[in-house]
């Protein structure tokens, strides 16, 4: 099974390896969610959803349902 953003634990770092182009909106890509960029899980709301991320220096929050479409490699 592939590791996705949704598998990250609080404080962990990872590199984005692939982004499902049909499921991920352009806006998220524009905010830096692109293959090769670093990502860190900063904080989680209760029930681990939404997730507060630091992607490539941009701080943003996305829902778990979106996060499962971003493949990562943990660091």
């Amino acid at each position: 099974m592939n590791t996705t953003l949704a598998d990250l634990k609080k404080g962990e770092h990872a590199v984005i390896t692939d982004v499902s182009s049909t499921e991920i909106p352009l806006k998220l890509l524009e905010m830096g969610c692109l293959p090769g960029n670093n990502v860190q899980l900063v904080q989680m709301a209760p029930f681990a959803d939404p997730m507060y991320l630091n992607i490539n220096g941009s701080h943003l929050a996305i829902r778990k349902e979106t996060a499962v479409h971003v493949l990562i490699e943990k660091l």
């Binding site: 909106p25 998220l28 830096g32 900063v42 709301a45 209760p46 943003l60 929050a61 829902r63 979106t66």
Partner: protein, 699 residues
């Protein structure tokens, strides 16, 4: 002769673009709407030198030129239409020093439009703090631009920016990368088909639906049909374009910017640990709300008392110093009383906007969105619905417009439909005066009963919004793809100037907007209350004098009897008594009935209406509150505004949909009359039932 040039401010949200705008224009600005749509248009004038003035437009914040909302579309529409009178001679891209990478994406897109462009890097005061250093000459060379390093907080660099704007003709219009390389063959064909158009413009038109000026519409339509690629292919190409731009930016910044992470003193993570905490986060949010309501109630009572007395005195003064007659009466009883009913609420409205703008400016609002998303989703809403629901406490109109950044149509529609339940500032006047009349003074645990009642009404508003959202979520059968991205900006100390200007602007437009309606309605009401048909009105004096001839009434008492007899048989009295049977079970008399009917134009008219009705024929000029307290229930005796009828009235106003402007906005945002009609019927019926039940139960 002084010349004027157009300057457009463009940038990501949260970059301090509006601060830059305020720094350049000061009070020399005006806020309006773009024609036909409800997107706010901010423009101002900045003096550059003796012969040159800058006309500055603060465009809505956007992350890129690929618009996904109406607000973002405004940016593209302006930049693609050379014939627009606001088409910029020079663009200033405002970016935030900490998010330079992401900000430059928009910058490289704008450079492709071949318009002179300046890069303003804002928040330069945070560079040391964050361990950031930037090689300005290198970036200027690589990005083909001029850079102004500014700090609106420390007020540095603004004159450099002005100097760059002044010399805009020296700026390069060369793009900084060749985006068309992502599919050379496709772009080659495109260029061949439309040799006179800018390639990037063509690409923008193809990938999104942009509305054009008439002059080049025909040609542009032809371009829009140049869709030799499928939608998913176009989407993939847009992704490729984004990746390419980021590659370029990463390479530039690798040399041009260094970040010494060890220098970072991270206030953000320390604050986030508490403010977005699973328990403390919610407690703090609730405490902030509590503070806001207690403050609105307590702090604003002093200026409000002053205003109330001042208007009573003014009305008195007009009556005594102008010659007696219809005009004087209209002025004193109709217009001044009616206007007093709105002016009195300026302090509270200003406080409310003050708090909302502080929450937004500080970056805290995004944390609330983050905390609330999961909970709100249970009710078919989005975390982003929290912003409309909170700003709905100021006014439902901007709140409904603020739903535009909710990505899912279903979540957005539900938010629009339930937002009018939240307690808007127009309900505040009604609540305040009724609470003052029927809720006793005194306090528990340092919180006054009256403030607690107000808090309770806000909670009722909020929970009925959430509960109806839950029902709508079950009932509405709309399939829409949901996604949710929210930026978590840095915490910032709100700038006094920004907050001040927002409060000033919002309060002004509230008072002017409501003032016009209230002025019109109070004149109509005064006329209807001062004239009447038939003998019963015209011969009131004889009738009453005859009726009470046996009782030895003083002249003052007799005059009061005559005035109230006249009012009852005036046009308004007749109308009021016709509808009275419908509202009697709710505990109201016909005067309140008239006030309710007139407040379907706008809720805050209620107080003004009562003020006008009560002051007609009444010689002693008292404050509105005293007049209402003196009203007697015609059937049961005792004060008309007692606990039961007061609560019934409060609940009626909590639920009823009484605002024409909100209905109009809902129509515009949902593009159909269906939704506002539902809203009106359901909310008003609910209000009637709840008010009826509470009065019958309490009395």
């Amino acid at each position: 002769m002084s010349r004027q040039i157009n300057i457009a401010l463009i940038g990501n949200p949260n970059t301090g673009k509006t601060s830059v705008f305020n720094a350049l224009t000061g009070l020399n600005q005006q806020v309006g709407n773009y024609p036909g749509i409800t997107v706010e248009k901010k423009q101002g004038i900045c003096k550059l030198d003796r012969n040159l003035k800058g006309h500055i437009i603060d465009l809505p914040g956007t992350y890129s030129l690929n618009a996904s909302s109406l607000d973002e579309n405004v940016v593209i529409e302006l930049l693609l239409n050379k014939n627009d009178k606001d088409f910029p001679d020079v663009i200033v891209v405002v970016s935030d020093v900490e998010n330079l990478k992401r900000n430059l994406l928009l910058f490289t897109q704008i450079k492709d439009l071949e318009i002179p462009t300046i890069l303003a890097i804002n928040m330069a005061d945070r560079m040391d703090y964050k361990g950031i250093s930037i090689d300005i000459p290198y970036l200027e060379k690589e990005l083909n631009t001029k850079i102004a390093l500014i700090s609106t907080r420390k007020k540095t660099g603004i004159s450099d920016l002005k100097a760059l704007i002044q010399n805009y003709k020296d700026l390069s219009t060369e793009p900084c990368l060749h985006a068309s390389e992502i599919d050379a063959e496709y772009f080659g064909r495109l260029r061949h088909a439309f040799p006179n158009q800018l390639l990037y413009k063509l690409w923008l038109v193809i990938t999104q639906d942009v509305n054009f000026g008439k002059t080049n519409r025909k040609e542009m339509d032809a371009i829009a049909s140049f869709k030799t690629k499928s939608e998913s292919d176009l989407k993939r190409l847009q992704q490729k374009e984004t990746i390419k731009r980021y590659q370029f930016i990463n390479n530039v910044l690798k040399v041009g910017q260094t970040v010494d992470a060890s220098q970072t003193k991270d206030l953000r993570s320390r604050l986030d640990r508490i403010l977005t905490h699973k328990v403390y986060g919610y407690l703090i949010f609730f405490a902030i709300l509590l503070l806001i309501f207690q403050a609105i109630y307590d702090w604003s009572s002093y200026p409000m008392d002053l205003i109330d007395t001042a208007f009573a005195n003014l009305s008195e003064w007009v009556k005594t110093s102008l010659p007696a007659g219809d005009f004087t009466n209209l002025l004193a009883e109709g217009i001044i009383s009616g206007l007093g009913g709105i002016v009195i609420f300026i302090p509270q409205i200003a406080f409310l906007f003050l708090f909302i703008s502080i929450l937004e400016e500080s970056g805290y609002m995004s944390r609330v969105v983050f905390l609330m998303d999961r909970i709100m989703r249970k009710f078919g809403l989005s975390g982003k619905s929290v912003v409309p629901l909170i700003s709905g406490t100021a006014c439902a109109i901007p709140a409904i417009m603020a739903t535009r950044n909710i990505e899912s149509w279903k979540e957005r529609l539900i938010t629009i439909l339930v937002t009018p339940f939240t307690t808007c500032s127009a309900r505040l006047p009604v609540y305040l005066i009724i609470i003052a009349l029927v809720i006793p003074e005194g306090s528990i645990l340092g919180l006054s009963y009256q403030a607690l009642t107000l808090m309770l009404l806000y909670l009722i508003g909020f929970f009925s919004a959430v509960f109806s959202a839950y029902l709508l979520n079950k009932v509405l059968n709309i399939k829409s793809k949901t996604f949710f991205v929210v930026e978590m900006p840095n915490y910032k100390l709100p700038l006094l100037k920004n907050v001040g200007l927002t409060v000033l602007e919002k309060t002004k437009s509230f008072v002017l907007g409501a003032g016009k309606i209230i002025l019109a309605i109070s004149i109509i009401l005064w006329v209807l209350a001062s004239y009447g048909p038939g003998d019963n009105f015209n011969n009131a004096e004889e009738i009453i004098t005859e009726q009470y001839a046996s009782q030895n009434l003083s002249e003052e008492e007799l005059n009061k009897k005559i005035a109230s007899h006249k009012l009852e048989h005036s046009f308004i009295g007749i109308t009021g008594r016709t509808i009275e049977p419908a509202i009697r079970p709710l505990g109201y008399d016909w005067k309140i009935g008239i006030a309710i009917v007139s407040s379907f134009a706008a809720r805050e008219v209620f107080v003004g209406t009562l003020a006008t009705i009560y002051s007609v024929g009444n010689d002693d000029e008292e404050t509105i509150k005293n007049r209402m307290a003196g009203e007697v229930n015609p059937i049961l005796g005792g004060p008309l505004f007692n606990f039961a009828s007061g609560i019934s009235l409060l609940l009626f106003y909590a639920f009823a949909m009484q605002c024409m402007s909100t209905l109009a906005i809902v129509k515009r945002e949902t593009n159909s009359w269906k939704w506002p009609t539902y809203q009106f019927v359901v909310m008003t019926a609910l209000a009637y039932v709840v008010a009826l039940a509470s009065y019958q139960f309490l009395s």
